[in-house]
């Protein structure tokens, strides 16, 4: 395993004005300076840089670097959290501009913690990371009844649904929720991702989920993989 490195976007100079530098922003996101990130992104917008370019060339490099380090267990949860917070500050400014350019989110994602489970700590981290990755996210919170998932999936014509369970005793409701989605006839329209401390790839396979995220970074990777897979289009 090699030490994760900052991946500098190829050809970024051609997409930026003469003399522009992103390196300060890369570092700000990496170390989680959210106020600086906000200010820098405003400056970039005012300079007239394309919002997509700001996102890809300015915000993602530092964010991805920390994601890789988190996966490698070099950094810890709070370090990932402050990076995600900085990323979110930048994205809050970029998102309306992307929407104005008619740039679509990469997918519609519905998430929540299953019925009987009140935990939201890990879930809120995953929510920030998915939004940062470009998903249009609806977080139903905790203790979500299968019917509520189904209703929301239909209403939003969701591409992906993810449910976490943080207790060994509520993990069973991931199976129940999948079974109910199947019964409702939606199974082919939506990809299903599960996660939570007591879950494993084996459990995901057993209950027929399409993917499993060991942690927040893996959840996003799985979501990006699944969004590219074929599924029945919504009527």
């Amino acid at each position: 395993m090699s030490e994760p490195r900052l991946k500098i976007p190829e050809g970024w100079e051609e997409r930026a004005p003469e003399g522009w530098e992103w390196s300060e922003l890369w570092e700000a996101v990496e170390v989680g300076k959210h106020i600086f990130t906000d200010e820098f992104v405003r400056k970039a917008i005012d300079t007239g840089i394309n919002p997509r370019t700001i996102l890809d060339d300015g915000l993602f490099p530092g964010f991805n670097l920390q994601g890789d380090r988190f996966t490698e267990q070099i950094i810890f949860i709070p370090e990932m959290l402050i990076t995600a917070r900085a990323m979110k500050a930048g994205l809050a400014l970029i998102r309306p501009l992307l929407a104005a350019q008619a740039e679509k989110p990469i997918g519609v994602f519905v998430m929540g913690t299953v019925l009987g489970d009140m935990h939201d700590i890990g879930q809120s981290i995953v929510a920030i990371m998915l939004e940062n990755a470009g998903f249009q996210l609806t977080n139903l919170g905790t203790d979500v009844h299968p019917d509520k998932f189904i209703e929301t999936i239909k209403e939003l014509k969701a591409d992906l649904v993810g449910f976490s369970a943080l207790l060994s005793t509520t993990v069973y409701y991931q199976k129940v929720t999948i079974d109910e989605i199947e019964k409702a006839g939606l199974r082919d329209n939506v990809k299903i991702l599960i996660g939570g401390a007591p879950t494993t790839q084996d459990w995901a396979d057993e209950i027929g989920a399409d993917g499993w995220g060991r942690d927040a970074v893996q959840a996003v990777k799985q979501a990006k993989r699944l969004i590219a897979e074929p599924r029945t289009a919504w009527a």
């Binding site: 395993m1 490698e72 267990q73 810890f76 949860i77 709070p78 959290l81 009987g116 009140m118 935990h119 939201d120 700590i121 890990g122 981290i125 905790t142 203790d143 207790l167 060994s168 005793t169 509520t170 993990v171 069973y172 199976k175 401390a197 007591p198 459990w203 060991r214």
Partner: protein
């Protein structure tokens, strides 16, 4: 039985099927195609817990492999390992041993069977009190059904405001069990100190109505990891302070090791949080008694009480010191 006669009750938290050891741990031993987890038994013998599934060869994969050693010992029915995991905590000074088998199965009936089997197996080894721990009240019930109350009093871990858990209150009275009550709400986790106090006050009223003796009640305001929120430590400590003022006689504790979840150097973080918790008003600690040895904590408690006027003329401290 008098538990915690030195003013501190210790609940050993290690017998929990969620407990995992990294694949890279020095305890992992490989010999040919066999692999296992080494441990030194209380009599000094080095023994091996068998790991039936092969561990990955790839170092990157091994790093993220977690070995659920308590769950493995139960599946292997390795009585030596089970005895060691229990008795090492008793030797270290735990008064109550928490038993949680939730991760043995995602299916309720299987989980209940595992709890019955485990309680019976452990009670053959020791007379120490066991806390029957599950977030599923049916699993708790299963453990209590087979509990041999001639050996010790059971503890129920735990009730909170979730509706399906409330029957555990009258059950505690009926079974003459200690009752752990946590600050979980009927439809969500507490968001601050006030929510914790409010939820536990409601449970205190229900325990009054069910006539559960004050000395059998253990309030748990819920410890959340500081890695996930900078205020989580204070939410807990402030709730402990308020509850201690309101209820001078009740037991108050938390899962103190939760504070350091996801952070490195857990022993030091836990020790600091344990001390802060004791100063806030906890008289009970749910901890890993191997990582954070109770003897030192009891000494701290006795000394701190003597130094803050809670132990007149240091009489209790001196008694403790003579008995040491």
């Amino acid at each position: 039985m008098t538990i915690g006669s030195h003013g501190l009750i210790i609940i050993g938290e290690n017998f929990n099927t969620t407990r995992k050891i990294r694949g890279t741990s020095p305890r992992v031993v490989r010999e040919g195609d066999k692999q296992g987890l080494s441990y030194t038994d209380l009599d000094g013998t080095v023994r091996i817990l068998d790991i039936p599934d092969p561990l990955p060869e790839d170092p990157g994969e091994l790093k993220t492999t977690m070995i659920p050693h308590i769950g493995l010992a139960l599946r292997n029915k390795d009585m030596d390992y089970i005895r060691w995991a229990i008795m090492a905590q008793v030797e270290a000074g735990a008064h109550i041993i928490d038993i949680c088998v939730d991760e043995m199965s995602h299916y309720p009936e299987e989980r209940a069977d595992w709890m019955r089997w485990t309680v019976e197996a452990v009670q053959k080894m020791t007379d120490v009190a066991l806390a029957i721990d599950s977030s599923d009240p049916q699993t708790v019930k299963a453990g209590l059904e087979v509990y041999d109350t001639s050996k010790s009093r059971p503890a129920i871990n735990s009730v909170n405001l979730e509706e399906n858990r409330l029957p555990l209150i009258p059950m505690a009275k009926e079974m003459n069990a200690y009752l752990f009550a946590n600050a979980g709400g009927s439809s969500g986790m507490p968001q601050n100190a006030q929510d914790r106090v409010d939820n536990l006050e409601q449970l205190m009223k229900m325990m009054d109505d069910a006539d559960v003796p004050m000395e059998d009640r253990f309030l748990d305001p819920l410890v959340f990891p500081i890695g996930a929120g900078p205020d989580f430590g204070l939410h807990y400590l402030d709730a402990v302070k308020t509850l201690r003022q309101r209820y001078p006689e009740v037991h108050i504790f938390g899962g103190h090791s939760n504070t350091s979840f996801g952070l490195p150097g857990r022993k030091g973080l836990n020790n600091a949080f344990i001390v802060l918790s004791m100063l806030a008003g906890c008289d009970t600690l749910m901890i890993d008694p191997i990582m954070n040895p109770p003897a030192e904590l009891i000494e701290f408690r006795m000394a701190a009480d003597a130094q803050t006027g809670k132990d007149e003329f240091a009489m209790k401290y001196l008694k403790y010191w003579r008995a040491k």
